[in-house]
Subunit: 169 residues, 2 copies
DNA sequence: TGGCGATAGTTGTTCCGTCAACCAATTTGG
DNA sequence: CCAAATTGGTTGACGGAACAACTATCGCCA
């Protein structure tokens, strides 16, 4: 099959997107690790739990929300449980399933980490963008996620309702 | 200090950007590993070398172009050298420095991997975007990189000139 | 010219993610 | 109603990445 190479505009956009995707996780991770002793993924897991009802989610749901594989999530939650931030217990109605619940210490950790993290996100992302660009970014990311995550699992919690007054992502 | 929380529009854009940043590297890696036995980072390293003059770069320059730390690059290049894709040799003029040169087999590997990779990029990214969104993405990524990579090291090779007819990124 | 700080790379340790294999519970189809 | 397939989750082995410590060379300046 004949390769459809990227044209000049696409190539320029692509090089910059790769750079962002390569650099952004490191920036987020560095700030959170330094200030809170959490990786960005660990923080994201705790934040998802903090916003769930009963601060509890099944492992499978949590994996979908964080776009993690089940083995990865299992390892991470085991470590978080060892640090007393999460508690695991079997589901009553389906004995195959495991529920993960945020502990009090886990909730405190999210609440303590959130302001610094949001400040980092603001400095590195939103302070650099106009409000028009924020809207464009929303549209572009939505379009990409239709390919990368067709079922929209990662953003399921955010589709319908606003989430004011909760710890930020 | 009072935390400047994200407003609703920022939060919506942010959740989606995190999802993209989390999912995109995995998609690229999976395709390249399956079809070419290379990680995306390894492919990127080889591609940078293939576009350099003499297909040769100093380790430090290569690290900047790929936004890698020197230790990470050193490990990767050692493995690539073990597979015969790259050759390392000391710099004549500065005996501290090491040059990395793409071998013939390395060049063949990049050329063989490029079409499948570009096809994956097209399917997962550009086929989902309008040409207007591609231009917006360019602008947004540029704005973010001013914070994430102030010196513009990662995109240094692409700033001035077009690069037609070379293996794609 | 000789000594000190800066620069260029490598090596080793430790941690995290992926993959494959595995077990347990549940659903489905004959 | 029982066997087979599917789902839910954990574990262990392996490979890659970050970080720190180390060696070697260079440039500067007294």
């Amino acid at each position: 099959m004949q390769t459809r190479w990227l044209d000049e505009d696409e190539r320029a956009a692509w090089v910059r997107l790769v750079a962002v995707v390569e650099l952004l996780p490191g920036v987020l991770d560095t700030q959170l690790r330094r200030d809170s002793g959490l990786t960005h993924f660990e923080y994201f897991v705790l934040a998802m739990l903090s916003e769930a009802s009963e601060r509890t989610l099944r492992m499978t749901s949590l994996a979908q929300l964080t776009s993690a594989t089940l083995p990865r999530l299992s390892h991470v939650v085991r470590r978080l449980e060892g640090r007393g931030l999460v508690h695991r217990f079997p589901c009553e109605t389906d004995k195959r399933a495991t529920n993960a619940r945020l502990t009090g210490a886990g909730y405190d950790a999210v609440v303590a980490a959130a302001p610094g993290h949001v400040e980092g996100v603001r400095q590195n992302v939103f302070d650099a963008l106009t409000s028009e660009q924020v809207a464009q970014l929303h549209g572009i990311a939505d379009a990409l996620l239709q390919r990368l995550d067709p079922e929209g699992r990662m953003t399921a919690l955010y589709a319908p309702e606003a989430t004011a007054g909760k710890p930020e992502i």
